[in-house]
Assembly symmetry: C2
Homo-oligomer: 336 residues x 2
């Protein structure tokens, strides 16, 4: 392909749009009219309530050494739709804004968009357009519209004493990267495989939407499970008591050689797992957990909500100040 | 205010959100539930057809010497909603993604958001949230949802022979910057005033939506009027014959001392004017132009659509290869 070996500065903004990006853009459905190269797209909403979110990234913060450019595109989409899924919305329409240096090979745009396209196919999304900009620091921003049948989507501020805490997803791989560094992580095949393209579970949205009365609160795990649990507790003004670990990578058992403290540390630190933490009404928890089994969403009951404050471990297995989250401006900080 | 003199790296991502951004975020309307700090917002659409767009900028490309940080926030929003207005949608809901270096003063975020807030007040927008990222090159990306009653929003691909071409807005100020450079432009008060905070005309959306059958094609002027006219011609496979100049700043007459060529050059080059070029069915043009007068939208009939190709000047006043547009990767390029 002609564009493959040119720099962006030679191909130009219009060349990038025409020759690379346009072929990944979804055409209008019947009843919709605007299409590439129009700057906006018209959409017939498929539910009476829609959800909107935007998620931006400096690409350097996503570019683990084992992630290709197409992985970067994939992960940017996965992260953006994860916010929708946690709120009970099925994401459908996405738009992407991209900043890249003119000295970059045009093939990088092709690869990023191939990753976006793969995520779009995996999650039935429609890429409706986007723009490109010149930036010496590469960045990507993804806006999403999702659709929900929930009359009241769950916020992170409404967990109630008595609720059961369920965590979806499998933990410990990004925690391994956070604790041991990318250099050591590069040699761990299970870490590389788990973190290359994290995958949110779309069906979680359907379960939340269909059982919204039973899902009192929900938050996605993008900045580490410890942070997500801490946020749920802080914003809902409740105590979360952790009784059990969520699902985690079995390879950690050898690494931690029997230390529960080590396991928890790997599980609670990390980020980009894109599972969901749910605070569920105990009267509806059996039904909701049955759905999770039916849809094969990896999940675990990890604890309960009580009156009070903070994250508490039933067996005092880890101190809260060992749980970190990545702050884009400060770097690693305690969740306290 | 405490945050005022701190660097972003000291205040941290969460501090920036809590102490600065959150106070500009619009609260949910009755029937909506999600709110800051939830990552997504639920919206009850107020029309059966919605429009979505995203618009990203490297801030250096927006930062004319006379633009403050609040102007940057304002212009980013103005540019993003301009795409909606040109398609007959009234923009309402926006989300912002921001990338800034940790070494930057936190007060810069405050100023950018004050500009976003001023644009939101001027245009009745709801800022629904956003995120912040660390980036050595500052960038901003704005996603918009707008609402339209038009059964068929006008694309840029449907101008037809016989149509009348109408241009809204006043031209020549950004052309002066493009032709003479920012240094000279700094000393021209009229240029500074016109380009500091360009203002799209919201009422244009209402006119287009209410008369969509008569508006065959529409494009906003974000990359220069010459480019917008050229795009309309190219994408619609028609010739556009320019019979008259659009409205322009009267200061140009002295600068151009009677040269029509000079006037056209200043008018057609530029960008960020955020007017609209419309190709209108001649049977409905009187009605549409009456509305423009009623809403006090500056406008002018500039020409007509014919069968054929390209931009043609009735009096051969300027050569097409003198009309430039800014390509983010290539720099200034001919629109040819």
């Amino acid at each position: 392909m002609e564009s493959r070996y040119k720099k962006l500065g030679e191909l130009g903004e219009e060349g990038v749009l025409e020759k690379i990006i346009s072929k990944y853009i979804h055409e209008p459905l019947p009843g919709e009219y605007l299409d590439y190269p129009d700057d906006a797209r018209d959409i017939l909403p498929i539910s009476p309530r829609i959800l909107m979110n935007i998620d931006g990234y400096s690409i350097s913060s996503m570019k683990l050494p084992w992630r290709t450019w197409s992985d970067v595109g994939y992960v940017a989409v996965a992260g953006a739709i994860s916010d929708q899924i946690a709120k009970g919305a099925v994401p459908r329409d996405i738009m992407v804004s991209l900043g890249l240096p003119p000295s970059m090979e045009a093939s990088v745009v092709e690869e990023i968009y191939r990753g976006i396209d793969e995520a779009s196919r995996d999650y039935n999304l429609r890429l409706l357009g986007g723009d490109t900009n010149s930036s010496s620091t590469p960045w990507i921003s993804v806006a999403v519209i999702g659709y929900t049948t929930a009359k009241k989507p769950p916020s992170r501020r409404n967990a109630r004493p008595g609720d059961i805490v369920v965590v979806t997803g499998v933990y410990g791989a990004m925690g391994y990267v956070a604790i041991n560094g990318v250099e050591k992580a590069t040699h761990k095949k299970w870490v590389v495989e788990a973190t290359k393209r994290p995958r949110p579970f779309l069906e979680t949205a359907i379960i939340i939407a269909g059982n919204y009365r039973g899902v009192h609160a929900s938050i996605d795990v993008s900045d580490g499970l410890g942070y997500a649990l801490g946020e749920l507790s802080k914003r809902s003004n409740v105590r979360i008591v952790l009784e059990d670990k969520p699902l985690y990578y079995k390879e950690l058992e050898e690494i931690c050689s029997g230390s529960t403290h080590c396991l928890w540390k790997h599980i609670l630190n990390g980020g980009e797992e894109y599972g969901v933490v749910l605070a569920i009404d105990p009267r509806l928890s059996d039904k909701i957990i049955d759905y999770m089994k039916k849809f094969r969403i990896p999940h675990k009951i990890v604890g309960r909500v009580e009156q009070g404050y903070g994250l508490v471990f039933e067996k005092e297995e880890i101190s809260i100040d060992e749980i970190m989250r990545w702050d884009h401006f400060k770097g690693w900080v305690s969740i306290l």
